[in-house]
């Protein structure tokens, strides 16, 4: 209960700032319309108008949530106007990409930890891969894959994987290397093979690091899937909603798609957090 009050206060402050910001952002339009019509308004009416425009520069919170309500709850999920429908399109690419990225990341990390050659040769490229803006490389991936006949879900999933493998590599390498010299010496006294060292010590020791990486990775995957929808002029998915919204000046639609993406990401991170808690607790670790 003690945490509820501060949390509500912060939300209240953000909403208040948001409403306040809508007034100067949307005022010019209101003034322009009044001048054109040759009318005047009281200050209260003027402010109310900045919160109720059809295509505001900055939509007011209630407009965004009205749109979210209409497109998430009120529409059938098979409808092209349902955000649940578009959300699922993006989510399926996200999950596939996250799976590919996580698998690839773990494999690379295992290779890097066990082979000095891989450590020297793979890690720099993994770092370089992340310095290239995803928005620049996403269209290339899609074009190249299209030319070899791969389209649909997979190209988006690859972009997702491209973003999500990196935190997994970094976290897993750190985790697999986390056992200290004494623990490694202990295994030497048993004359354990390096495979035994991997399965009995390194892998279990790396799990807390892996989960931290997965939380970052899953959010990055979602960003990747959305970015993957932008350059293709996709008509389905949250990225497509953002794109369509910006073509037609539908700011309310853009913001509601943004919120949907944020809520989806929060849900995914929370889900990983839950799996983490259950797994580590079953392993007897205090969390």
């Amino acid at each position: 209960m003690r945490t509820v009050f501060p949390v509500l206060t912060v939300i209240g402050v953000i909403v208040a700032l948001w409403y306040a910001a809508c007034i100067p952002m949307n005022s010019p339009w209101t003034i322009q319309q009044l001048e054109r019509a040759g009318k005047t308004m009281t200050v209260t009416e003027h402010i109310a108008d900045t919160w109720a425009q059809e295509r505001p520069r900055l939509p007011a919170p209630h407009q965004v949530f009205q749109e979210l309500w209409d497109t998430v709850v009120m529409k059938k999920i098979t409808s092209k106007r349902s955000l649940v429908y578009h959300g699922w399109i993006t989510l399926s690419a996200t999950l596939l990409g996250f799976g590919i990225g996580t698998g690839l990341g773990i494999l690379l990390a295992v290779g890097i930890v066990h082979s000095r050659a891989m450590d020297m040769s793979v890690m720099p490229w993994a770092i370089v891969s992340q310095t290239i803006p995803i928005i620049a490389i996403a269209p290339m991936i899609i074009v190249v894959l299209y030319s070899i006949g791969v389209q649909g879900l997979l190209p988006k999933a690859f972009i997702s994987a491209y973003l999500s493998f990196f935190p997994v590599v970094v976290g897993m390498v750190k985790g697999l290397r986390s056992p200290d010299a004494m623990q490694l010496d202990l295994l030497r006294t048993y004359y354990a093979s390096s495979a035994q060292g991997f399965w009995k010590l390194r892998l279990p020791a790396s799990l807390p690091y892996l989960f931290a990486s997965l939380k970052i990775g899953v959010a990055a995957s979602l960003v990747g899937a959305i970015v993957g929808e932008l350059p293709t002029g996709a008509v389905r998915g949250l990225g497509a909603r953002l794109l369509a919204g910006s073509y037609y000046g539908q700011t309310v639609q853009i913001w509601s798609a943004l919120f949907a993406a944020a809520i989806l990401a929060a849900g995914l991170v929370a889900l990983i957090g839950l799996i983490e808690r259950i797994t580590l607790r079953r392993m007897g670790m205090r969390t």
């Binding site: 010496d185 202990l186 295994l187 006294t189 048993y190 009995k200 799990l207 392993m283 007897g284 205090r286």
Partner: protein, 257 residues
């Protein structure tokens, strides 16, 4: 001879140049002996124990363990090693931790369970098999790590300051238990310590070492009986041996003063 070292030298190459960790170390340890290594930091006592275990490679001289090279002895799982920290895996129960070497060495499931039960009894931890390490005190964790080292029945037990991180009262208790365990199992024990009373109380042979370069300055054969109640530490004999250890330590330090 269970363990025999002749003219053992070990020089580490560091960024500040070579450091002579062991110089001309000669020592014979017979089966069933309890040998303590005592000396200030940098005297090479831990390094010597690690040479016996085949965890460090000597740069000169010869060392044999059970008539083999330390590397072969390690391969033959000739010794159990107890480190200063218990180093139990937090994701395994106490029973699971003790099982670790047994799994690695390929004992059958039934054999594993038998041995775990037996060594837990031996270190007085029966009933704690299903607990996780964090649920145990430091002293109990260290006992579990001793049980882990005993589980595969090596004749030699090497202990590197196993009670160094524990308080005096717990330490006394564990020393007493360790003696009882030694009497029951008849193992050969190599024990590194900083504490004079601990060395004198436990050992049949006390090896006093001094630093820069690490070397043996005195080897004291204890005249105490094998049966040692805690109050033997007030006997004149005990005090005399402790004196000799202290003299040996002081002699090794003279060039520092």
């Amino acid at each position: 001879m269970t363990i025999s070292a002749q003219n053992l030298d070990l020089t580490f190459q560091t960024n500040d140049g070579p450091v002579q960790a062991l110089k001309d170390v000669n020592l014979e340890i017979s089966k069933g002996e309890f040998v303590s290594f005592i000396g200030p930091s940098g005297c090479g006592k831990t390094t010597f124990l690690r040479c016996i275990a085949g965890l460090e490679q000597p740069t000169g001289g010869a060392i044999s363990v059970n008539g083999m090279t330390p590397e072969e002895a390690r391969k033959a799982r000739a010794y159990g090693y107890v480190f200063q920290a218990a180093g139990l895996y937090p994701w395994r129960t106490i029973g699971g931790n003790i099982k670790l070497p047994l799994e690695i060495m390929g004992f059958s499931k039934a054999e594993q369970a038998d041995r775990v039960a037996r060594v837990m009894e031996l270190v007085d931890l029966a009933g704690f098999e299903q607990k996780f390490p964090w649920q145990l005190s430091g002293g109990m964790q260290q006992r579990a790590s001793i049980a882990r080292a005993l589980a595969f029945d090596a004749d030699i037990l090497l202990m590197d300051e196993p009670f160094g991180a524990l308080d005096e009262i717990v330490r006394d208790h564990l020393n007493e238990q360790l003696l009882a365990l030694w009497a029951r199992t008849e193992k050969t024990i190599g024990f590194v310590t900083h504490s004079i009373p601990e060395a004198v109380y436990l050992s049949t042979k006390i090896v006093v070492m001094s630093p820069r370069p690490g070397r043996i300055s005195d080897v004291i054969e204890s005249t105490l009986p094998r049966e040692r109640p805690l109050d033997i530490r007030d006997s004149p004999e005990f005090i005399e041996i402790a004196h000799r250890v202290r003299d040996g330590l002081r002699a090794g330090h003279q060039d520092d003063a």
